[in-house]
Structure formats: structure tokens, C-alpha cells
Symmetry: C2
Subunit: 467 residues, 2 copies
């Protein structure tokens, strides 16, 4: 007869019984085929109710520790002993441990950080409340793989209005990031396709294509952006470019270069241009510049954009506009994929755009960012005097400044860290080192920093270089 | 002298001037190098303010249609003519057009649809409001690639409490779907790795691995779930299994088979078990059954789960728990990836769990789904009598029923459609056809249907087979 040693009868007694018997079985003290006491016997022995024993036996049955034979009772299952039972989870490696890091005293000129202090989250939540009421039928089902049609209609209208993009809602694919969408896109092209990437350029794309074992070549830049000579020389099948505001240099590609590139693509119907319009919403001094896609009459451009810069990085809503032939391939190849963006947020965004809240927020932020940008340029010129050359292009959320110094990028970065100044340098964004620049090219992101901290941040930058 | 033909001076006149000059240039009526009238001349000619002409010229400059030479004026840029200017966007193919389809009169026994009528969205929104206030610093930056540490801590505690999963928050990777996470995971294994998949099983995984050109073999099922004999025979490197509630058959893997499989993995440290615990939260009659991972002392199990079944399909929050060695590889290989789940929703979920709202919602739904399940089983038995055999496993959100008939799956599906009854059959989930079953195995999802419609749905099912 088993002795359950029920310590105390507080809490769920059936769980104590269940655990005790389970342990006997795992320790091989109750052996395969052995008969358990009947529920009534055990209940009497342990002075508990029949129901309590019943619950314990049911759980053991469900997990497969015991089996029952009609009118004969309960028996122990045949369970192979564990080959090894050493616990190993306790020694989690020290170097993998993460800390909750609240950095204090830092100032950020990172191009990756935004200013959310004016984000109209109350409006956002109001729209979301309506979504939960009005879209419940859609939310109960698996969403359309390209994102809900209603949301794509809104985005198609917005893209036409803001960026001159001409497309049907059917051509839009929504997804959690431009990375994910480009990965899905690249899977539609032949394996051996050669991809041309701007250099310097967006390193996440470089990594992405490398990870996919794609053949990559660098496209140098000239003063008009991606060099047409370089494109013709390397002869890629697909190029990825950022005409509205080249990343990271900020160059706005003039219409002459845009047409050159479109004409290049036209010569072979297997040539495609991926236009990444990542922060085109912000433009100072003049109006927005229409997208490259708006000039394309031959479905050679795949247009991509994101809400990461206008709303928040964590919104995880990006979009790509596929030419018709690629759309067909996409629907064939990826028919088992699910849309990666959160549906509630997609519907909320759709309302946010339709009701005009999006445009008014972008306008407000454009104005605010312009003030920060002017102030930071002013302070840089005031403090650095002729030691700095600012490539101040009136678009986006960052610009490049070239500082006269013999300091290496490595030492500069260390010193900036010591002074608690967060920012990136151009060296990080070069896929291949083209030539040794004289001086330091730093990327000044002006979105995140509080206007009152700008002077201090510029002082730290100066100290990092010259002190 | 150019004639701008400004139709009427309503709206933004500078835009009219801009458009008119741009058109002259694109039509080659203003030629490269040609001098434009001075701002003052044009303002006088068109009877508009100097400022209006200035704005138009600035925009043309920014887009690269014209250039300025100091003290000489504005000139037309050299722009290659478009090689072709045929508009082609108008003829979007008919077969790709999507319709807003509101299906009326349908009843759904789909295993993919949930019941959201009791979703406490007001609480969800309240938590989200606090997130916007308290987590603004985190929301302004790029989120951690595995998801915010705070959220992973919450999920680690929850998994330990609900599923017995033993892990550090550092081992958790959050992402928009199990598909995406498994794709990232598979990229850590050698190319030639052989993957064993349950058959019948989850077709999206089959498609996913095929799309990645992975070698796949089917693991048959026996009454304990994934067959250990089959596993030993095909000798895979990685197996994907659903021990809590096999998809789609619903089999709960007993502890004896779990230990057999763990012992199999132990024999070679390159063997891994992916445990997909997709709908383990729902359990009727007995308690939850601890995960397979909870029995694993050797870091052979990769545990994955999702909030798609307990919250909503569009939430796009899934997680995987990586053994230490794979975690290292993950951080190396994917260091440029961004977390694909929406950060605001992640923080909201974290609060929702911490405050107990998640567990109380799951419990409430477990109770509700149990009532639906019992009612539907009762109705099936009442209407089909001995023409049906129900494999009623007390877990998850669906079960399989086998109906006596000579009808083919194809004809049955057509007839169900005609009767506006949405449901899936087992035939869809078999990767390879093993043998011809007699009768129809249909998958009865009981989550979505309104309790008052259950009788009608069962009647339609009966009609689809026998009328």
C-alpha cells in the first residue's frame, strides 16, 4: 500500500495526491502494470472525500500516468525511465543575462529615436475603442494575408494624395517591417538575381540580403544619389534606392536621375527598382517631392514605406506596393503566410488616417522637427565655426555633418560614449570601405532631443572631438 | 516667353505655376539650359505676388527640374526624355480585384475562428492608456530584437505558472507569428537538416519548410500522437510536434510517449524537439497538462506558443523559448532583425497578464467554450445517432468527428458551401495521403459559433452529408 504523506490538507488536496502518485511512478516505486488502490480505499485511508481522489486520478489519467480497465480499476502506465535527470537550467550563462538598463544623463542625437511627447494617444485609443466595437467580425477571423482590404484602401488613397503613388489596394501588402516585406519579395526572384545596394546605405538591408545568400553589389553615390554609371556598370537585376532622402547621406535625387534610372529599368522587363521611401513625410522649406513610383509607367518600381518614422518604431506597420506580375507571384508563393501586422492597430491606423488625425499629426511634427533642426544647425555652426561642414538637406529626420579632425571613428565613438552622447557615424553605414575620408562624418538625428538640451548636446559633441 | 495659362487663381497658385513649368520641361518645350524668367518678371506677368513665384521655383529646385546660378537666375535642368510614357495602370486585371465580402447567413464551425464577444476591450484600452503614459521612453526608441525585457519577464513567469516551462526571460523571443519565429529558428540549423513533421499536421508549417527548401519527412500518428517508431525510422534532426493537443486530431500525448521522445533527443545533442503548444490554454474536465518542455532537463526542447487563440488571431504575438546554445546562435545570426510584434500591444499584454486580466479572461472563455463543446457533441449525437463517431478530446477549440458516408471530401465540401456552413475536413491537413479512410473526418471548431446556432449548424452538417 502506498503512503502519500500528505503534509497538510490545506490548498488543493487533490493536487497533493496527484503529485505524490506521479512522483512514485516517475521514481519507479510504483511499477508499470501495478494496480492502484481503488478511489474508495484511498479516500478512506487519507481521510478525504471520494471526489478529491477522483479529481487526482482524472488528472493522472489525462496526462497518461495511469490507465483504467473497466470494472477492474486503475493501473500504472508503462513509462520508460528518463535516461538522465540532471537539472541544468540553474546555471544560465552570465554573459547572456540582460539588465533593465535605465540610462540616466544621456542625450541622444540618434537618427533612430523619435519624439512622442505630442503623440495624440487619446485619439488613437478612441479610434481603437470604435474598432473593437465595429470590426469585431473581422477580428474573430484570420486576417487577409496582405492585411484587411479596408485598411489597404485607406493607404492607397493616402499614398496617392501624399506621395503620388498610383496603385490599386490589391497591390498593397502590409507587414510588420520593410525587412520582412523585402524578404518575402526577394523570394519571388530567381536565386541568382544580383541586387544593387546604395553604399553607404541601410545596413539592415545589406545583412538581410547576405543572410538570404543573395549576390550583392554596391552602388556608389554621386551628388545626385545612386550613381547611374555604377548601376549600368554592375548591371544588377534589382536595385534598392532611397530617392526621397538617401539613407544616410540625405541626398534628394533630382528628377533627371530618377528618369535615368527608370529608363535603365525599362530596357529589360526583369529589372526592378525597389524604392524605399522610409522618411519621406518630413520635408522642410518646400513641399513633399513626389515618389519615384509616381513617374513609373511600366510597373518597374516596388514602392515601400513605413509608419515607423511618423508614428512609432514599435508600431510594426510597413507596406509595399507590388507591380501586377509580382503580385501574382506573391499570391502564389506566399499563400500560406499570415499578415504580420497587428490587425487591431491596422484598423485603428486606418481610422486615424481617414479622420485626418494622421496628416495633422505629421504636419505638427514636421513643424516641431523643423524648429529642432534649425536650432541644432545654428548651434553647430556657432560652436564648431569653420570646423564643421553641414550637409543640411531639408528633409527627413537627420543630416550628416563633417567635422575637421584627425580623430579616428573608433576613438571618437568611445569619447562620445564617455560623455553620454548617443549618435552614429557614417563609418557604420558603409558596406565596403571606399576610401579614407579626412575628418569625421557624423549623423545628426534631430527628432528625439528636447529643444532645451540641444546646446548641451552640441557642446558634448564638441568636447568629444576636441577636448 | 512662357505662357502659364493659369486657369483660375483659386487654391494654391504657386502649385499651378509649379505644375505648368514642370509640364513644359517634361514635354521638352522648355529645353535644358534655357533661362527661366526672373521671379519678378513672372510675378508681374501673371499678376501674382513675388512670394508665390518664389515658392513655385523653390519646389522646382528641390525636385531638380531647375537649377540656379548666383546673380544670373534660374535655368532648366538637363533631363533625359522618358523612353516611353504610356500609362498602363488603368487596366488592372479583373481576376486580381478583391471585393468587400460581407457573407450573410453563414454559420461557422471553423477551427480558426474565435468568439470575441466577451473580450474585455475596455480593460485592454485602459492598460494601453497607461502604457502610452508610462512607457513613452521605450516607445521612442527601437525595441529590443527579442521584444522588451519587461514583457519577456512577464511571459516567463506566466509560462512557468501555467505550463511548467522553465526558462529565463533572456531565452524568450517574441514575434508576430509562430511561422516567423520558426523561420528564424530554422536558419540557425545546417542546411541539410532533416525535419520531421506530424502527418496529419499543421499545413502552414509544411509550406514554410518547403519554401525554405528544407528536407521534410512525415511522422505518422498512433493513438499516443507522434509515433516514436516513425521518429526512430526517419531519423530526423528536428521534429515539430503538438503534444498538448495534436493538430488537427486533438490527441493528448501521454507522459510515456513524451519521455520516449525526450530520450530519443538525448541520444544526440544535435537533435531538437520543437513543441508547438498552440492552444494548450483550453482544457476541459481536468487541469492543464504541463508542457513537454517542463520535463526536459537537457535543453533539447524549443517551446513555442501564441496569443492568437486566447486573445485574437490578429494580435500577432507569439513566442519561442530557445535553449542556451541556440540563443547564442540566434543573437549572432539575427542581430540585425527587429522584433516583429507591435510594442504598444506587447506592453499592454504584459500589464493585462500582470494584473490578472489575462488568466481571468482565459478561464471565462474556457468555461464558455466548454458549454459550447458539450452542446455541440450532444447535438451531433442526437441528430447523427450511430452515423457519427466523435473523438472528443477534452482540450483545445476543435475535435474530429468521423461521419459514415460514401461521399467524397470534394462533394461534401461543395454541399457544405451551398448550405452556408463553414468548416474544414481532415483531408486538407494530410501532407501525403496515407490511406483511403472510409467515411468523412470533419474538424468541428466550436469556439466561434453562437450557442443558439449550434442546432442549426449541426442540421446543415447532416443535410450536407445525407440530403
Amino acid at each position: 500500500m502506498i503512503n502519500l504523506n500528505l503534509e497538510n490538507k490545506k490548498g488543493f488536496i487533490y493536487k497533493q495526491i496527484y503529485r505524490a502518485i506521479k512522483q512514485y511512478i516517475l521514481n519507479n516505486e510504483l511499477k508499470a502494470g501495478e494496480k492502484l488502490p481503488s478511489k474508495r480505499e484511498l479516500a478512506t485511508q487519507e481521510k478525504v472525500s471520494l471526489n478529491t481522489v477522483s479529481n487526482a486520478y482524472d488528472q493522472l489519467l489525462a496526462e497518461g500516468y495511469i490507465y483504467s480497465v473497466e470494472r477492474r480499476g486503475y493501473f500504472v502506465e508503462e513509462i520508460a525511465p528518463f535516461k538522465d535527470t540532471v537539472l541544468s537550467n540553474s546555471d544560465f550563462p552570465e554573459d547572456l543575462k540582460e539588465k533593465d538598463s535605465k540610462l540616466t544623463g544621456w542625450l541622444s542625437l540618434s537618427h533612430n529615436k523619435l519624439d512622442l511627447t505630442d503623440f495624440p494617444y487619446q485619439k488613437w485609443l478612441d479610434h481603437q475603442e470604435i474598432v473593437f466595437k465595429e470590426n469585431i467580425d473581422d477580428l474573430q477571423a484570420i486576417p487577409n494575408m496582405q492585411g484587411p482590404l479596408k485598411v489597404r484602401k485607406t493607404i492607397a488613397r493616402m499614398l496617392l494624395f501624399n506621395r503620388g503613388v498610383r496603385c490599386e489596394p490589391e497591390q498593397i501588402v502590409l507587414g510588420a517591417s520593410t525587412q520582412i516585406l523585402l524578404k518575402q519579395l526577394m523570394e519571388l526572384f530567381p536565386k541568382e538575381s544580383l541586387v544593387g545596394l546604395e553604399n553607404p546605405g541601410y545596413p539592415r538591408f545589406n545583412q538581410l540580403f547576405k543572410g538570404m545568400n543573395k549576390k550583392i553589389k554596391s552602388i556608389e553615390l554621386d551628388k545626385k544619389g545612386a550613381s547611374i554609371k555604377a548601376i549600368k556598370r554592375i548591371n544588377p537585376n534589382i536595385i534598392v534606392i532611397t530617392p526621397s532622402h538617401q539613407f544616410p547621406t540625405g541626398i534628394i535625387m533630382p528628377v533627371s536621375r530618377r528618369i535615368d534610372i527608370l529608363n535603365w529599368a525599362l530596357q529589360d522587363e526583369k529589372r526592378y527598382i525597389i524604392e524605399d521611401d522610409y522618411d519621406s513625410e518630413y520635408k522642410y522649406e518646400t513641399d513633399n517631392i513626389p515618389s519615384l513610383q509616381s513617374l513609373d509607367n511600366h510597373q518597374s518600381v516596388i514602392y515601400t514605406g513605413t509608419f515607423s518614422k511618423t508614428l512609432l518604431a514599435g508600431i510594426r506597420i510597413s507596406y509595399m506596393v507590388l507591380p501586377v506580375e509580382l503580385l501574382r507571384k506573391y499570391q502564389e508563393t506566399h499563400r500560406d503566410l499570415m499578415c504580420t501586422s497587428n490587425t487591431v492597430e491596422l484598423y485603428t491606423l486606418s481610422r486615424f488616417i481617414e479622420q485626418g488625425d494622421y496628416l495633422s499629426y505629421v504636419k505638427k511634427m514636421n513643424y516641431k522637427y523643423d524648429i529642432k533642426r534649425k536650432k541644432i544647425i545654428h548651434m553647430l555652426e556657432k560652436i564648431f565655426k569653420d570646423h564643421i561642414q553641414i550637409k543640411s538637406i531639408p528633409a527627413g529626420l537627420h543630416f550628416i555633418a563633417k567635422i575637421k579632425t584627425h580623430l579616428s571613428y573608433e576613438i571618437f565613438t568611445k569619447r562620445a560614449d564617455q560623455l553620454k552622447l548617443e549618435l552614429s557615424t557614417l563609418s557604420y553605414f558603409k558596406h565596403e570601405h571606399v576610401k579614407k575620408d579626412l575628418g569625421l562624418s557624423v549623423i545628426i538625428g534631430f527628432a528625439h532631443i528636447d529643444i532645451k538640451d540641444i546646446e548641451e548636446a552640441v557642446m558634448r559633441l564638441y568636447s568629444a572631438v576636441y577636448d
